[in-house]
Amino acid sequence: MPHTFDEHIRQRLEALPEEPFHSEDVWNRIERPSRPSRRRWLVPLGVGTAAVLGILVGYLLHQPTTEVTKTTPLLSKAPDSSSSVRIPSVNDSVFVQPNVVRSEKQVPLLASAPVEPVLVTDSSLRAMPAVAIQPTPIPEPVPRAHPAEAETFEATVTLTIPETQTVPLRKKSILARLFRADKRPDTRLRWQDFQAPTSVGKVKTDSIKHTH
């Protein structure tokens, strides 16, 4: 014997009108069984579109906001917070401008000019904070042993490159940037946390030899 509740529900549902659906699509699939279901292409199409959009948005978001050009002073640019900058070793970071051969009169002018240290990073030129390297002292001319000998200068350069060779910076993934899922506190050093250490020692540079 049917339950009273069930009977009431059944009577109400029998009165329901037919619900519209993709009748033509269903009939086409009944006629041609090989015809794929809408789901078969709708789902991959949706996933594919979402993936393409995700990659596109991620690519756009991942673009650095500053560009270093030849005309832009490097020191005015802070490194992009999302990029990992490798601070090279002392030997690599010594900036030696090729073919710098200057007369004695030009030396004071050179010494007073602002030093713009350029560090070579993984893929492009990056600037260090201005405090990283002290201005180079005035090179002193070395007395010639013989009048025909080439003019020589010597200078002591104090480098303040930190001992740490690689400073991993906070790098958010594209997905984390998109969905703000990167909730874990990042304890790694960031540029804001970076402080120029005190002088770690003195390095005597090779003298620049002037040949006539």
């Binding site: 049917p2 339950h3 009273t4 509740f5 069930d6 009431h8 529900i9 059944r10 109400r12 549902l13 009165a15 329901l16 037919e18 619900e19 519209p20 659906f21 993709h22 009748s23 699509d25 269903v26 009939w27 699939r29 009944i30 006629e31 069984p33 279901s37 809408r38 789901r39 709708l42």
Partner: protein, 181 residues
């Protein structure tokens, strides 16, 4: 055209007659499929496989009357839905104690739209929904349900009672809201 004549033409592989039969029953069958499958596209998939089977097995079907033809087609559809549910869902339901009957005002059912009742059934958990559809709406016995879903009769009974309780609770909430309005 009478249904008997239409079925004869369908048996003779008349494409137009098959289309007519489809248009006559597809809407109602889709409603039934939606009660089981919930997802519209899954319900459409079951409709496709049901009509393919109907056209294949029509030769063996003996026509009695319109009601029995409808029940025959509905039975094929329900079997198709159950096959899919068994394939995709876990029917290893744990037997629960039979729930005690609770008092329920049946007038509430008349106050709520049939479409809403249909939605409430579709929103039931899959086990409750399937057993409720089979026993309460299709008239299957608990023994048949137990065999179809490979569960015990006790489980079928408890699932049905739980389904009724949950549905009554939802209907009462809606009916109470309707009274306030």
């Amino acid at each position: 055209m009478t249904l008997s004549a239409l079925l004869d033409r369908c048996r003779a592989q008349d494409a137009k007659a098959q289309r007519l039969l489809y248009e006559r029953y597809a809407g109602r069958l889709f409603r039934v499929a939606q009660r089981y499958m919930k997802d519209r596209m899954e319900a459409e998939d079951r409709l496709v496989s049901t009509f393919q089977k109907i056209f294949v097995h029509l030769k063996k079907m003996e026509y009695k009357d319109e009601a029995s033809t409808w029940l025959w087609m509905k039975r094929i559809l329900v079997n198709e839905c159950l096959m899919e549910l068994r394939r995709s869902a876990n029917f290893t339901m744990v037997p629960e104690q039979e729930a005690a009957e609770q008092s329920f005002d049946y007038n509430i059912i008349d106050e709520i739209a049939a479409e809403t009742i249909h939605t409430l059934i579709a929103e039931l958990p899959i086990g409750y929904r399937t057993v409720f559809n089979l026993v309460a709406l299709e008239g299957y016995s608990h023994a048949e349900v137990a065999e179809q879903l490979q569960i015990s009769e006790g489980t079928s009974k408890s699932q049905l009672n739980k389904a009724r309780q949950l549905l009554q609770k939802k209907l009462q909430t809606l009916g109470y809201a309707a009274h306030i309005r």
